[in-house]
């Protein structure tokens, strides 16, 4: 069965279906992370004591991770740009770079978590740690999902370029939208958790 509107725009929306679909999904993700953010705000405002993020967490590590994730957003959009220039090799390299940077982010996060655990700082220890691990943990799972999807597109998924190049380009674009959103969430999480 042929999937409709993978390349041409649907007349009523003016968009290919996947692009509309991913934006709707991102809207739901805004509500998901927004709900957790709102929980964080309320927990903090109503708590008798609450530590500053920089007292409990490593600002240098998180700053490094912020740079890593922003760079991965650049490599992701460059991958799409290369496909628009019909340069598959360049696009795949940029996709692998995105995956690589995402893996670096995860390794740093794992190290951070390990450091906390080795000091007995588990989510059960305080409300601060509970919301910290929840927010960054959920975000980390989203990074993992991006690694899997982008890895597929960089690897076996690239075979689609030979038969349906525009559809493949749209796939990369749509995955890029998801990836930029993951970066966006971190851009808010970083100051909210680490710097305030």
């Amino acid at each position: 069965m042929e999937i409709p509107y993978t390349v041409e725009a649907r007349p009523d929306t003016g968009l290919p279906n996947a692009k509309l679909g991913i934006w709707l999904f991102l809207a739901s993700e805004v509500m998901l992370f927004g709900a957790l953010f709102s929980s964080y705000i309320l927990l903090r405002v109503s708590a008798p004591v609450w530590p500053h993020g920089y007292e409990e967490l490593s600002v240098p590590l998180a700053t490094f991770n912020t740079v890593v994730l922003i760079t991965s957003s650049v490599t992701m959009v460059m991958a799409w740009a290369q496909l628009k220039l019909h340069n598959l090799g360049g696009a795949r390299r940029y996709l692998w770079a995105t995956v690589g940077l995402a893996l670096v982010f995860m390794v740093v996060k794992m190290f951070e978590y390990g450091e906390h655990f080795s000091h007995g700082e588990y989510p059960s220890e305080s409300t601060f740690l509970a919301i910290y691990f929840t927010l960054t943990g959920l975000h980390g799972l989203h990074v993992l999902g991006g690694i899997i999807v982008n890895g597929y597109l960089a690897g076996p998924g690239a075979a689609m370029w030979r038969t349906e190049p525009e559809r493949y380009t749209n796939r990369v674009e749509v995955s890029g939208l998801y990836w930029h959103f993951v970066d966006l969430v971190w851009i808010f999480l970083f100051p909210a958790l680490y710097l305030l």
């Binding site: 934006w23 709707l24 405002v45 600002v59 922003i70 959009v77 220039l85 100051p191 710097l195 305030l196």
Partner: protein, 104 residues
Amino acid sequence: MSATGHEDIRHHIKTYIGVFVALMVLTAVTVGVSYVHLAVGLAVTVAMIVATVKGSLVAAYFMHLKSEKPAIYWILILTVVLWLHLMLIPLLSYLNSFHIPESR
């Protein structure tokens, strides 16, 4: 959708690099300001304003929102409105006792 000409894409690429530099600068600003240890309310405001600027750059240029179709804009506007409600609804719990305890 957006331009497929090679010159247009090269112009896009220049924009991406420019946005990347801006994001790096703003990240440095975010971290730098946190060392000043402003009063809580001011610190939160500044941090969120900088984060919003960074997020807007990512949304407008990396996610191509600047040149997107109305359908997307309407979805996002609706999302923002609903998200604001989501953030504000829990405050209803303070209606009976308008006392938010002081934090440290």
